[in-house]
């Protein structure tokens, strides 16, 4: 069953917490991965791969650069999840 936007954001928060050690409550829709959450370009790759596995989506490298905020990533997953 496809995840809702809220479920995706909760899942992304857990992933960001696991990879970058950011408290889950800080991971909100409007937050920028690099500017607000201190997720650098390499950690972003780890977040993306974890999100792919968790939500059963494919996120090609070319699309990763467009995922600036948690909301961008949630929308991408919502639109592409299998």
């Amino acid at each position: 069953m496809a995840a809702t936007k809220e479920e995706i954001i909760t899942g992304l928060a857990e992933i960001v917490n696991e990879i970058a050690g950011i408290p889950t409550e800080d991971v909100k829709e409007e937050k920028s991965f690099t500017d607000d959450l201190d997720v650098d370009s390499l950690s972003m790759v780890e977040v993306v791969v974890a999100a792919e596995e968790r939500f059963n989506v494919k996120i090609p490298d070319d699309d990763v650069k467009n995922l600036q905020t948690v909301g961008d990533a949630a929308k991408y997953v919502l639109d592409h999840q299998g």
Binding site: D40, L42, D61
Partner: protein, 334 residues
């Protein structure tokens, strides 16, 4: 008539008999790199784990570094140069293509008329050379094979590229592969992915430079995120396959020596592979930088020299880089 051809008689198995390394005398700290790029020591360390690297001086040519490392490897094997039957040199930064530098090395080492040739497999060059060497020993074309990875990547570094200026180092690492009564080098899992040729490459061809179509000397460039993803996830799978092919369980592994590309890649590979706590992981990139084909034998030599690894330990090695190409196998340390 079709005559019956007598095949060569090789050794049942092969192993690494000795290892040697050479690091240029000049140590270059991040502060020196920061004279060329807008960055910080903290940024370089957090993205790469690199604190210092060695850059070769005018006298530390590809040939001189190779001779130093090779002499040590041959001595470590308890051999003399005249016992070397084949010399294989992997490099992407020797700027004279013909003749192969391996012939000069064979001659200057005193390896007589040893077969000698260069290979080009970038950061997987050591694994490619090791695989060829093992095959030669087992097939019977050589008793002892010298395999060298050598690079002067400082010559191919664009000091104005803030994503790569701090990455590369120079040096040479060598091993001697020879006969064994027990398998000392496992099956190789290797391959290429030419559809990803643009991910890591030389910025421009020598031809374009010669014809003045570009002003800047060729340098190495890469797409960091794509390389990271491929290395951490795809290469971890290849390394696992090499372990499985060798029939070595993670608990039996003592040492992991991945290509020293970047500490972040190494850390994430270790996590993805779920290696047991007791496995010693080579982290030579911190003080050596990324030396492409030289990185695995250099890291191997340092682990043994510092007592972090011991002769007889079982090590998983994996090289991966421009091509894209990769090679992974399990070896018994010399």
């Amino acid at each position: 008539m079709t005559a019956k051809i007598r095949p060569a008689k090789g050794s049942p198995y092969a192993r690494i008999h000795g290892v040697g390394g050479y690091r240029p005398t000049r140590v270059v700290p991040n502060e020196e790199i920061l004279q060329h790029i807008d960055s910080s020591d903290e940024w370089i360390r957090s993205r790469s784990g690199i604190v210092t690297r060695h850059w070769a001086g005018p006298d530390e040519t590809v040939a001189e570094m190779t001779l130093e490392a090779s002499g040590k490897a041959i001595a470590d094997a308890g051999l003399t140069a005249d016992q070397i039957g084949t010399v294989i040199i992997s490099t992407v930064s020797h700027f004279k293509q013909t003749p192969a530098i391996a012939t000069e090395i064979a001659h200057r080492l005193g390896a007589g008329t040893a077969a000698a040739f260069d290979i080009s497999a970038a950061c997987a060059g050591f694994g490619y050379g090791l695989t060829i060497a093992k095959s030669l020993v087992v097939e019977g074309s050589a008793d002892y094979v010298l395999v060298v990875g050598v690079e002067r990547l400082s010559d191919l570094t664009d000091l104005s590229d803030r994503s790569t200026a701090f990455l590369f180092g120079d040096g040479a690492g060598a091993v001697v592969v020879g006969p064994a009564t027990e398998p000392g080098i496992g099956p190789t899992r290797w391959g290429s992915e030419g559809d990803k040729a643009d991910v890591i490459s030389q910025t421009v061809s020598w031809e374009a430079y010669r014809e003045h179509r570009v002003e800047k000397f060729p340098a190495l460039r890469q797409e960091g995120q794509t390389v990271f993803r491929w290395a951490v996830y795809e290469m971890a799978r290849v390394a696992q396959e090499a372990l499985d092919a060798a029939g070595v369980a993670p608990d039996e592994l003592d040492v992991f020596i991945p290509h020293q590309a970047n500490m972040r890649i190494i850390d994430s590979m270790v996590k993805t592979l779920k290696l047991p706590e007791h496995v010693t992981v080579a982290r030579d990139v911190e003080t050596t930088g990324n030396t492409s084909a030289a990185s695995i034998p250099l890291a191997m030599e340092r682990l043994l020299a510092t007592g972090q690894a011991r002769s007889g330990d079982t090590a998983l090695v994996i090289g991966f880089g421009a091509g894209l190409v990769y090679a992974s196998t399990v070896v018994t340390l010399p």
